[in-house]
C-alpha cells in the first residue's frame, strides 16, 4: 500500500456538502461513495441526488435518520438509478419520492460490501485504494467542538451515530490518519474534513464500512 493515498488527488471526490438541519448524513455518505466510484470508472464526476435517497429509501427515516447499509441494500435490490442532483435537488427535508423512468440518466448500484474492520485497518486501507471512497459510521459526539487536527482521543468505538465518507489516508507523518469528508459544510472542521488516527478504531471508524460496486 502507498504511505499516502487520497482520492481527491484523482479528482473523483465531489465538494463538501451541507446537510443543514436534516439528519441525512447516511444519504450523503451513500451518494458520496456512489458518485466517486462512478467517476473512478471513467465517467465525469457528477453530483447525484441525495434527496432521492432521502425520499425513496423508505426503510430509512429521511431527515430523522437512517443507515447507509440499508440505503445501499435498497439501491441494489430495486436497481433504482440515482439521478443527477440537478434533476432532484436537495431540500433538507423529507418529501414524497419522485420516480424516474429506467431510461432516465442515472447510476445504479450493482453490489456493495459492508464489513467491520476493527483490528484490520490496514485491510481497510487496501479496500479504499482498491475500490474507492468508503462509507463509514462513526461516533461523532465530540465533533460538535472539532476545529481541525487529528482526532486521537475522546471518541469511542461501538457507539456509531454518524455516516461519513472516507476518501483517503496519510501514514507519512508522526500520526497516521484517515482523511474523512463530512457533510456539515466547509465552515466545519478543516474545510469540511476531519482527520482520525489510524490503528485503534478511533471514533469507531472501522466498525461499519461499506464499499460500492457499480
Amino acid at each position: 500500500l502507498p504511505a499516502k493515498f487520497d482520492w481527491r488527488d484523482k479528482a473523483v471526490v465531489a465538494p463538501v456538502q451541507n446537510q443543514q438541519a436534516c439528519g441525512s448524513c447516511w444519504a450523503f455518505g451513500t451518494v458520496g461513495a456512489i458518485q466517486s466510484v462512478h467517476a473512478i470508472g471513467g465517467f465525469t464526476l457528477e453530483q447525484l441526488s441525495v434527496q432521492q435517497v432521502l425520499d425513496c429509501s423508505i426503510q430509512n427515516s429521511g431527515c430523522n435518520g437512517g443507515s447507509a447499509v440499508w440505503a445501499l441494500d435498497w439501491l441494489k435490490q430495486t436497481k433504482v438509478k440515482l439521478v443527477p442532483q440537478s434533476d432532484y435537488r436537495y431540500k433538507a427535508k423529507t418529501g414524497i419520492c419522485h420516480y424516474f423512468s429506467q431510461s432516465h440518466d442515472g447510476v445504479a448500484v450493482k453490489n456493495f460490501t459492508a464489513h467491520d474492520f476493527e483490528g484490520q485497518e490496514a485491510a481497510m486501507m487496501g479496500e479504499l485504494v482498491q475500490n474507492g471512497p468508503l462509507v463509514a459510521v462513526v461516533d461523532a459526539i465530540s465533533w460538535q467542538d472539532y476545529l481541525g487536527g487529528i482526532i486521537q482521543h475522546h471518541c469511542s468505538s461501538h457507539r456509531s451515530n454518524h455516516a461519513v465518507l472516507v476518501v483517503g489516508y496519510d501514514a507519512t507523518g508522526h500520526i497516521p490518519h484517515w482523511i474523512v469528508q463530512n457533510s456539515w459544510g466547509t465552515a466545519w472542521g478543516d474545510e469540511g474534513y476531519v482527520y482520525i488516527k489510524i490503528g485503534s478504531n478511533v471514533c469507531g471508524i472501522a466498525d461499519s464500512v461499506a464499499a460500492v460496486f457499480l
Binding site: A68, D116, L147, N161, H162
Partner: protein, 81 residues
C-alpha cells in the same frame, strides 16, 4: 462575535438568547477540557464553531442520526475474489 460570524439573529432580551448563551458557555468549558488532553503537534483542537450554541442533546438529535447496521467482521473476501 459568535452571533455575527454565524448569523444568529436571536433577540438579546429573549429567553432563547439566555438559553443559547448558557449552551455557549458550556461549550467553552467542554472545549477547554477536550483541549487539555493532548498538546502533541497535529492533535485535534476544539473550539467555537457553528454548533457552539447547541446543547449536546440538540446536537445529537439533529446531526447524529446515522445508524450502524450490524455487519460481519472482514474476512478478506470481496465480490472480486
Amino acid at each position: 462575535l459568535f452571533r455575527a460570524q454565524f448569523h444568529r439573529m436571536y433577540d438579546v432580551t429573549s429567553d432563547e438568547f439566555n438559553r443559547r448563551h448558557n449552551y455557549f458557555r458550556d461549550s467553552k468549558k467542554r472545549q477547554a477540557r477536550l483541549n487539555s488532553f493532548s498538546a502533541v503537534p497535529q492533535s485535534a483542537t476544539y473550539g467555537i464553531n457553528q454548533f457552539s450554541d447547541l446543547s449536546p442533546k440538540q446536537f445529537r438529535d439533529l446531526y447524529l442520526t446515522g445508524s450502524a447496521t450490524r455487519v460481519p467482521h472482514y474476512s478478506g473476501l470481496t465480490p472480486e475474489n
